[in-house]
Symmetry: C4
């Protein structure tokens, strides 16, 4: 995973500055792209022109520096980094512009290559790999739809050329022009620069539009089907290790773990994020896969670590949240919604019993601090205030 090395670099700057660094990166990217756009506007004042150039060079410098740092640490892995996907993208962001300027490409044209900087977003968006996989998985039906698209396109273009080229030589005078009309119509874009005028031409055009809806529907159907199955698979893999890392859950038998893995949703939280707020109604409970949370109870807050759970009262008796819970470090939680809790415990009452037992103990035991994985008993929270 090329992303790991990027994270490693950012981690050097300090654990809590990761998000800040990411935002700075995006801001620099946005500034660079904006400057590139401004540069192409004819008639900007020389001052603005100078500033856009400065901004562009600064961005380029930043990306070059980033690349240098990333590929520096140890010479062995450095060579590797440049050959990973992320490294190649970083290289693509830095090299082409100076090269183009060197071989004499005009400044305005050379800087258009800054649009390649946008590729730097790709590794930060994990879903792109998922999308790529869906497209790869569904390649055959997608190819079929594309061939269907080509059929309709070609026959529509030929038909309109035959019907309209006498009346509108400017718009349907050749097959390429007619194809252009067909593609704008079949995708339902409809620029309106070329519009059939004969009765028969309009009937064909209407059929093309309806085919356009159909092609669109098929495409959507294929992508939706593929996306749903791939998405489910991916979440399963991501959640599996988390589920088995919670001792409370890993005692379940294998089919139960499978079922639970499909139900749980992962939630990655930064530190000091409020998870549940006292007094709000709740429809889910939380298992802590990693990290730590602080339960704000009187007389003093309680900390729950990995393997604990909280928020179960809302599931058991529908009561509102009895305490505000906040993360103390970057944490990963697993959310079990009430619908899934009930569906799951119907088949696996052992989980319900275990949760209930723990909940009963928490309600009755004021000395909950001595036990991991507990939520404070509600009676202790009477005079606690919502600190929002």
């Amino acid at each position: 995973m090329p992303q790991d090395r990027l994270d490693e670099l950012i981690a050097l700057l300090g654990p809590s500055r990761r998000g800040a660094y990411r935002i700075a990166q995006y801001a620099i990217l946005a500034a660079g792209l904006a400057a590139m756009a401004v540069m192409t506007v004819p008639g900007v004042s020389p001052t603005v022109g100078t500033w856009t150039t400065v901004v562009l060079w600064c961005c380029l410098g930043f990306f070059a520096g980033e690349l240098l740092v990333k590929s520096w640490p140890s010479d062995k892995s450095a060579r590797n980094y440049l050959f990973t996907g992320a490294g190649f993208i970083d290289l693509l962001a830095v090299l082409p512009i100076p090269l183009a300027l060197l071989i004499g490409v005009p400044k305005e044209t050379a800087w258009l290559l800054a649009s390649l900087w946008l590729l730097k977003l790709a590794p930060a968006v994990p879903g792109l790999a998922l999308l790529g996989r869906v497209i790869e998985q569904e390649a055959r039906p997608l190819a079929s739809v594309f061939v269907l698209f080509l059929f309709v396109l070609m026959f529509a273009a030929v038909a309109l050329f035959v019907l309209e080229h006498a009346g509108q030589p400017a718009h349907f005078g050749s097959l390429p022009q007619s194809l252009w009309w067909a593609v704008t119509t079949l995708t339902t874009t409809g620029y309106g620069d070329a519009v059939p005028e004969t009765y028969l031409g309009r009937v064909v055009a209407a059929m093309v539009m309806i085919c356009g809806l159909g092609v669109f529907g098929l495409l959507t159907g294929i992508l939706a089907t593929g996306f749903a199955s791939e998405h489910r698979r991916r979440d399963f893999v991501r959640n599996w290790d988390l589920v088995t890392s919670v001792p409370f859950l890993s005692n379940l038998d294998a089919p139960a773990i499978i079922e639970l893995t499909h139900m749980l949703r992962r939630l990655d939280l930064a530190e000091r994020t409020v998870v549940v707020r006292r007094g709000r109604s709740g429809d889910c409970m939380y298992f802590i896969a990693s990290g730590e949370v602080e339960v704000r109870v009187e007389p003093q807050p309680v900390r729950l670590g990995a393997g604990s759970f909280f928020g179960e009262f809302a599931l058991l008796d529908g009561s509102p949240r009895t305490a505000t819970v906040m993360t103390t470090m970057p944490s990963t939680l697993l959310i079990l919604q009430v619908a899934d809790f009930r569906a799951f415990t119907a088949h696996h009452p052992e989980l319900a019993r275990a949760v209930e037992k723990e909940a009963a103990r928490r309600r009755g035991a004021p000395d909950y601090e001595s036990h991991a994985g507990m939520q404070p008993a509600p009676q202790l929270l009477d005079d606690e205030r919502d600190d929002d």
Copy 2:
């Protein structure tokens, strides 16, 4: 739930006037927005201008009064109401316009803030929360599609700028203009104000349109997938409590209840609504979760309360409805369709047996009035008339 307090206020006006109040609210909202639209039309006669102003002030007054009443009752909850989502929306509907007029914003511009009144629809539409949740759940793949969208947008804009800016400086003379073209094309809006004219530009444009279909398909796939799962979950939660409140059903074992909860559909009915009409064919039976219905049979109508069921003959032998059934108060019914009834009873014959036993007793027993949950025997209904 902020909606509860709104309901409480309306309930003060009388139980059956809730719907009327709601309709009045919508009418006032529509009148206000229409007046706002008319005000902006240049050249309206002074009379119309005066009237629109009057209507707008009346609407504002109504909303202000509503806010006042809602936040009045007890000072403690009043402060709370203003800090809920609905209270904030109500505040947003009342305050900005007078403030804008006070600080000297021209009348025509200030009243445009009346468009904020539309937000008052939000709490009345429970599905919006569901949609928000889908978007939150699917944030990662949606972000991926958005980045994909940005990629195509940027590369299309750069390509068209390079290819077309010499030939059409008015439409592709700068990158921002080219981006505008790209966004109208990629979303298949296709205004037609800027259209590529070079061969290569049109080939790129055709690819952008096809990408537009693909982006659209992915977006739909993600939203459809997320929506389906979130919708199912929500219905489950809503139905669960209802199912377990029907004694007849709550005796089933937990997995059966889960299964049934997924099958039943909730139906909220106002009072005096006809549920089934005698002689019509039927494909479902009804469980009464709350409220009461009247079965119109001879010699006199029978009332069934919460926990009863009716309409089972249609499921058992496909016969038409033997009596008209009407609610006597606002009721919540659970509908079990014939397909689901058969699928369910195949695995859980005990429900079928219980329903059959009750049905047999109803058919044979003319003294059904003495039993809760019964439907009159069909032979009693011979001379009953459909009173529609």
Copy 3:
């Protein structure tokens, strides 16, 4: 079901003329609508004008006659027919035009009411009821999407009015004009009659277009979800009675029947339709729910009636079809595809054993004519020819 009475009428004309009558109805409908369209074209020759009037009056006469016949037979049911949905549509097709002409509406305008004739298609399209049910079922989320649509529409219109009305008073000079632009953009129709020209206006417009994609995606997701579940339910109900009417299948236990009902697809065939053709590869077997088929084997064809099955060799050993099978009367078949056959028999080997036993008997037994439900043994078919 109003459709039943229509069928009854057509059945009077003879059993095999039902299809012909239906086609004639559609032809008359199409001719009437075409004549209506021609009538509105300015500058048609008087001859054509006369002919269109004649065609229109003929169509009206036909529909009036149809209505008369349908509501004639017995005075009791006649009154009923006019009050059914189909009767109301028939009335709507016949009455308004003469009434409009009587009260002095110009001829061209009065005949536009002939567009109501199109409603006569509604009862013939059973899926419309299904669509109506999906929309009713998903009313809440659809309302949410509609409110979302209104929000975006209103805020986009107000924003564009503020940004553009100074520069383009002709297109954004009032809020209604701006709303018109917003609706064409948000639905991605994009006429291009009003196009924002300021930078900020174009940024807002781009966001509106993207919201348009989103609204569209949500709408599709809701309808797709609702449609899938409603469609499955409906097929189940339609297939259930057929499955239980096949003795061979009705011996299965209830869960197996449920499972099979979900798998089987219904096929309604006219008489003398070829079901399978000898020598073709096959991927499904057929159960005869009603009707009769003829298996073209030597020395003489065999007829199989309701309750029989055929085409099982293709499922058992993947061999091509061993004989051509043709219906001898309108028949209803249930198709079991190979994928479903394997999935089903994995859990219910008794069906596979029964089919295999019968197949083995057919292969080995030349005297298959004496048994119902058999397919001729392949060795008998050696010199039979494909009579296509």
Copy 4:
């Protein structure tokens, strides 16, 4: 299957030239269509005109030759080939153009028939049959949506004709013109050649656009639903025979095979394709259904044939790939993803045990060459290099 005979012909040219022949076919097809398009452009130089004619005749000659060869071998099957779907398409590609030229159709028009060549893509795209089947399966709901479409179209056209024909006789002067507007609007194509200008006309138009979204959504929902179920069925059939041909898997009981068949994905690979690369992370294992792979290990590569599996370490302990694996001949692999492996083995631990046993043996046994179906033990791979 007509495709089989095409494959047979190509196989005559040598096993590895199949792909090359396919590419050549596509190139000739593309060249022919491009020449046809160029021919219609007015004002091309005579030289270009000559060349396009030459290219077109060459393409025609190639297709004629292909047809001749295909229908040559044995006179019995030759007659059959011309009557298959593929044969008919081949005939359609060759005959019409000379015939048209013979009967005196102008050259430019006659060559437009070359667009029929595109049909030759159809047999090469297996998914088209699937799409056809979805449309056949969903014919009833699709017809319903189409009728709905017609309703909206007709009423919108009549409404706009009434509202706009006085003001815009050029665009809404007749019902056909109004229908043209309606179809471009309802499909959200929106050419913008005819735009309503009255207030009421625009309100109707807005409703038509929203209906357009709805029609589109329903269409997509139907196609998505149908496509998903048909796709799943088809994959099942294709994978079933492969799964049962792997001895390791065919020992499982029937329900387990069904389950596994739904999980496995087929992968057809050309010879000398890298399947997994050493050091990469892996999320699936592979079963060899047919063909052979070479595992690049020291001291010398190992070959695994049909029935073997590899890549299981990644599933068992999440370790990166321990060796590069490459096909030595065209092979068909079955992919089992980690999510499915875990879900499957939860219910069928016997597969996990068998895989684990084999994996343990491979890790411990350096003499793995003597056993089929083994992957080299990782310790042997220490000094092996990734040969990419």
